[in-house]
Symmetry: C2
Subunit: 125 residues, 2 copies
């Protein structure tokens, strides 16, 4: 099943924000949506409010039923949209959401905040 | 649906480990299983290898179908098993896995590493 990329739109990043300017999280979502439209289908992109990774923002998470969930941090809206999109596509293509480590973009390898196993939908016997 | 508590058994915590001694992650799992047995059913406890939160270990995650997933860090095997178990029970009791903030144990509030929205099992129309 294809993966969903959740992008925190409330992230403030590491810099100051001027009044009236879009937040870095919102800029990251826009950059990801732009990149996603360019490469076509495969990953659903959804903006969400707060992934609780504020100290290492901007943040995004990749998840799908039956797969590992990943949270990625320190995403720069001006730099890392292609990296998180590439990782989301790798996640989507792997049965368990575990792309080969060395094939993941460098920023993803170095800024993985956490991962969580697939949820067992059925109780063990 | 009741929640699952994933406990990283490979976590090394912040201290040195003597050869032959169980890792802090394994000690945390043992403490949680002991506490869980005392209070009875409600939360499934599963040991896993690496939640990718090594720099702020020991680590655990709480998840359930249709609910928010939480990753908690800086868990001391000698101190925090009751806190993470209490949070897992609160998560299990809440429809969306969003216990009231002020009712969560203090260590959980201060050491939430990340959270991820519920996975939509059906595509939007």
């Amino acid at each position: 099943m294809s993966s969903t990329l959740y992008v925190c739109v409330t992230c403030r990043g590491n810099g100051d924000i001027s009044a009236g300017e879009p937040r870095p999280g919102a800029r990251l979502l826009a950059a990801i949506e732009h990149g996603s439209a360019e490469v076509g289908e495969g990953v659903a992109v959804i903006g969400v409010e707060c992934l609780s990774n504020c100290s290492r923002s901007c943040s995004a998470a990749v998840a799908a039923p039956g797969k590992w969930t990943y949270v990625i941090g320190n995403l720069d809206p001006e730099q890392h949209a292609p990296d998180i999109l590439a990782f989301a596509r790798q996640h989507s293509a792997h049965e368990l959401g575990l792309p080969v480590w060395r094939e993941r973009p460098e920023h993803i390898r170095k800024n993985t905040i956490a991962r969580v196993p697939p949820i067992a939908l059925k109780e063990s016997p």
